[in-house]
C-alpha cells in the first residue's frame, strides 16, 4: 500500500514537472516564431478548413524560403501548431485556451468560419494574444470592441452591397425591387443587414424577405413568390447548400429574374456542379485570381493561383488566398514592431497599411479590413458548356462585362 502511494506521488510529481516544462515551450524558440491555430480538419467545415490550412502553409513556406522575418537584426522562421477543432465552437475555444496556456503560443491565426472565430476571440482577448484571422466575416466580430482581433477580409454586410448598387446603377439610378432569402445564421443575417442598408441608401424596395431554415434544402415556396411578384433582383445567402439549392430550383422552375446575386458560389463549385444552369449567377467573393494587386512574395493573383495549384492540385478558392494574406500581415507587423512584445505587435498590426496579392489591408478600429472592396463575379459559359467565373464589378477590376438582364429561360 505504502509503496503504491510513493510510486503514485512520484509519478504525479513527474507529471507536474513535465507539464511545467511544456509551458516553457513558447512563442519564439531559437529562430522560430510559433503561431497557433485551431482549424476544422474534420466535421462540417472540413473542406474550407483544409483550404484555410493550405493557405497558411503555403505562406509559411514562401516567407521562410524568402528570408523569413527580421526582428532585432535576427532572422526568424514561422511555424504553426495546428489542432483540429472538429468544426465545433466549444472545442475551438478549449483549443485556443490550450494553445495559449499550455503550449505558450503568443500569436494566433484564426480558425475557419465566423462562428468559430466568435468562440475563440474572447479567449485571445482575455490573454492579450494578437490574432490575425482570415475567415470570420460576421459584423458582430467587429462591434464588440476587441483590441487583439484583426481580420484581413471585408465584413459580411458588404458582401452583396455591390450587387444592389450595380442593379440601381443599371436601372438609371432609380431604386429596384428586391427579393431576398437568407439562412438564419450569423453570417447570412449580416449579409441581409447589408442589403437592408443598401436598399435604404438607394431607395430600393424589399418585396420578399424570406428566411431559410438551416435544416431545409427546398426553397420552392420563395421561388413561387418570386415568379408572381417579379422582382428586379433576387438575393440568396445560405452557404453552399443555399447556393446549390437556389440554382437547381431556379433552373427547374424556370424562374426568370433579371439579376441573381448569391454568396458561397466558390465553395459550392457552382459552375462545376450545375454547368450551364448556373450561368449568369452573380457571386460575391473576397478575392479572385484575376485581380491585379501585387506583393513581393506571391507577386500577383495569377502567380499565386498557379503556385497553389502546383502544390495542392486544385485552383485556390478565396478562403485559401485570404489565409495566405494573414501570414503576410503578421510578418509585416513583426518587422515594424521589431519586437515580440505582444502589445507592441498588436499596435503594429493596428497600424498595418499594405498591399498584398490578395488586396489592400488596413484595419478599422474594430479590426475589420476597410481597404479592400468585395468583388462580384458572374458565371459565364461558352457554347461548349464550359463555365468560368469572370469578375464583373467593381468596374475597376472587371475582366468581363456584366450580362444584364439575365436572358429569359425561354430564350436560352
Amino acid at each position: 500500500m505504502k509503496i503504491n502511494k510513493i510510486i503514485l506521488s512520484f509519478i504525479s510529481a513527474l507529471a507536474l514537472l513535465l507539464s511545467t516544462s511544456v509551458t516553457s515551450f513558447a512563442k519564439v524558440v531559437g529562430d522560430k516564431i510559433i503561431l497557433g491555430s485551431a482549424i476544422s480538419l474534420t466535421g462540417k467545415y472540413s473542406s474550407n478548413g483544409v483550404h484555410t490550412q493550405n493557405g497558411y502553409n503555403m505562406a509559411v513556406d514562401r516567407i521562410n524560403s524568402m528570408g523569413g522575418v527580421k526582428v532585432g537584426g535576427k532572422t526568424y522562421k514561422f511555424e504553426i501548431i495546428y489542432y483540429d477543432d472538429e468544426s465545433n465552437p466549444k472545442r475551438a475555444a478549449q483549443l485556443a485556451e490550450r494553445l495559449i496556456s499550455q503550449d505558450g503560443v503568443e500569436f494566433m491565426l484564426g480558425p475557419y468560419s465566423s462562428g468559430l472565430t466568435k468562440a475563440i476571440a474572447p479567449v485571445t482577448e482575455k490573454y492579450g494574444v494578437p490574432m490575425v484571422e482570415a475567415n470570420g466575416a460576421s459584423r458582430s466580430l467587429f462591434t464588440k470592441g476587441y483590441k487583439y482581433l484583426f481580420a484581413v477580409l471585408a465584413p459580411a454586410n458588404l458582401y452583396l452591397d455591390v450587387a444592389i448598387e450595380t442593379a440601381v446603377e443599371l436601372n438609371g439610378g432609380k431604386g429596384v425591387r428586391i427579393a431576398q432569402a437568407f439562412e438564419q445564421d450569423a453570417f447570412s443575417q449580416d449579409v441581409r443587414l447589408g442589403i437592408l442598408d443598401a436598399a435604404k441608401r438607394t431607395g430600393s424596395e424589399i418585396i420578399i424577405d424570406d428566411k431559410l431554415p438551416k435544416e431545409l434544402n427546398d426553397m420552392a415556396a420563395t421561388l413561387v413568390k418570386v415568379k408572381q411578384m417579379k422582382p428586379d433582383v433576387l438575393v440568396v445567402s445560405g452557404h453552399t447548400k443555399g447556393a446549390l439549392t437556389a440554382v437547381r430550383q431556379i433552373a427547374e422552375m424556370k424562374v426568370d429574374v433579371p439579376m441573381l446575386a448569391m454568396t458561397h458560389c466558390d465553395a459550392a463549385k457552382l459552375s462545376k456542379q450545375h454547368g450551364k444552369n448556373s450561368q449568369y449567377a452573380l457571386c460575391a467573393s473576397q478575392w479572385h485570381k484575376t485581380l491585379t494587386y501585387k506583393d513581393d512574395f506571391f507577386k500577383d493573383g495569377m502567380t499565386y493561383a498557379a503556385d497553389f495549384t502546383k502544390e495542392f492540385g486544385y485552383d485556390p478558392p478565396y478562403q485559401a488566398a485570404e489565409s495566405s494574406a494573414a501570414l503576410l500581415v503578421f510578418k509585416d507587423a513583426f518587422e515594424r514592431a521589431n519586437s515580440f512584445d505582444q502589445k507592441k505587435v498588436r499596435d503594429a498590426l493596428a497600424a498595418t497599411n499594405m498591399q498584398t496579392f490578395y488586396g489592400n489591408i488596413k484595419f478599422a478600429p474594430g479590426g475589420q479590413n476597410v481597404d479592400k472592396p468585395m468583388v462580384l463575379f458572374q458565371v459565364m459559359c461558352d457554347s461548349a458548356g464550359k463555365c468560368e467565373n469572370k469578375v464583373v464589378a467593381p468596374l475597376k477590376w472587371a475582366s468581363a462585362k456584366l450580362i444584364h438582364p439575365v436572358p429569359k429561360w425561354s430564350e436560352r
Partner: protein
C-alpha cells in the same frame, strides 16, 4: 402573415402539389421506420443517415457517368446489406431491450455514420443532376420539376411492391407474424432472428431508394440526416404503427401542411408549424386514449 396563397388560387394548387410530392417521398422513409419500429420495437435515429448514405451511392454513380436514376436500383441493394450488417453488429444486441437502449444505440450509429461519411466523402454539399426538365401546368402558372414527379412515382412503386411482398411472400408473412407476437411466432417455427435482420435490411433498402431520390431532387451532405429522421418519426407518430395507408396519408398531409405554413407564416416557421402540429396531435391522441381507458374501467 401573408395571405398571398389565397389571393392567387394557382399558388394554392402549387403548394398542394409540392406538398404531396414531398410528402410521398417522406412517407417512403417513414414507411421503413414504421416497419422496423413495429416489428423490432426500435426507434432508429440513424434512419436519416441511412438515407444520406443511399444518396451518396447515387451521387457516386453520377460522378462516374451513370445516370443517377439507376441509383434507385443499386442503392437499395447495397443498403440492404448495410442494414443486415448493422443488425448483425449492433442491433441484435439491443432488440429485446427497452426503447431507451435502442435509441441510444442508434444515436451512436448515427454519429458514427455522419463522421464516417464526412471522412470518406468530404464536407461539401453535393447533388446529382438528372436533367429531367420541368412540367408546366395551367398555362405555366404551376411548375413541377420532373425530378420531383419521378421521385414520387418511384416512391409509390416501391411502397406498392413492398405491400404486396408483405402480403404474399413467406418472409413477409413471417415479418407480420413477428410484429404481432414474436414469442408466438418463434414457437410456431419462425426464425425471428432472421426476420429481424431482413426487416432492418428492408428498412435500410427503402432509405437507400429515398436517398437516391433526394440526391436527384435536393442536395446531400453528411450532416443532413437528422431532419429526415425527425420527419419520418413524426409521420409514424401521426399515423400509428402498422397502418401503412395511414403513413402515406399522413406523409402527404404533412407535406401539404408544411407548404401552406411556409406561404402563410413564412419559411422560418415552417418546421415550427410542423412541430406544433405534432404536439397538438399527441395531446389529442392522449386525450382520446384516456377517454377510452375510462370507458374500459
Amino acid at each position: 402573415m401573408d395571405f398571398m396563397v389565397f389571393q392567387y388560387p394557382m399558388i394554392s394548387v402549387q403548394a398542394c402539389l409540392d406538398g404531396i410530392l414531398l410528402g410521398i417521398l417522406f412517407a417512403l422513409i417513414a414507411y421503413g421506420m414504421a416497419l422496423q419500429w413495429g416489428v423490432m420495437n426500435i426507434i432508429n435515429i440513424a434512419q436519416g443517415d441511412l438515407v444520406i448514405l443511399g444518396g451518396y451511392i447515387a451521387y457516386f454513380m453520377y460522378l462516374y457517368g451513370i445516370h443517377p436514376a439507376w441509383g434507385v436500383i443499386v442503392a437499395p441493394i447495397i443498403m440492404y446489406f448495410v442494414g443486415v450488417g448493422l443488425y448483425k453488429l449492433v442491433i441484435n444486441k439491443v432488440v429485446d431491450r427497452d426503447l431507451f437502449i435502442s435509441i441510444l444505440a442508434t444515436f451512436g450509429i448515427s454519429i458514427l455514420f455522419m463522421q464516417l461519411m464526412n471522412f470518406a466523402f468530404g464536407a461539401d454539399v453535393v447533388l446529382a443532376n438528372s436533367g429531367y426538365g420541368t412540367t408546366f401546368l395551367f398555362d405555366s402558372a404551376v411548375v413541377l420539376p420532373n425530378s420531383k414527379i419521378f421521385s414520387a412515382f418511384i416512391s409509390i412503386l416501391f411502397a406498392i411492391c413492398l405491400v404486396i411482398y408483405m402480403k404474399k411472400s413467406k418472409l413477409g408473412r413471417a415479418i407480420r407474424a413477428t410484429a404481432q407476437n414474436s414469442r408466438a411466432a418463434k414457437i410456431l417455427g419462425v426464425d425471428t432472428e432472421k426476420v429481424y435482420a431482413a426487416t432492418f435490411g428492408i428498412n435500410a433498402a427503402l432509405c437507400g431508394v429515398a436517398g437516391a431520390l433526394i440526391s436527384i431532387t435536393f442536395t446531400i451532405h453528411p450532416y443532413m440526416g437528422l431532419p429526415y429522421t425527425i420527419r419520418s418519426f413524426m409521420i409514424v407518430i401521426v399515423a400509428g404503427l402498422g397502418n401503412l395507408p395511414g403513413v402515406a396519408l399522413s406523409g402527404m398531409g404533412l407535406g401539404v401542411f408544411e407548404e401552406f405554413a411556409d406561404y402563410i407564416l413564412g419559411t422560418e416557421f415552417r418546421i415550427g408549424a410542423v412541430f406544433l402540429l405534432l404536439v397538438l396531435i399527441l395531446v389529442y391522441r392522449r386525450f382520446k386514449l384516456s377517454r377510452k381507458r375510462e370507458y374500459l374501467k
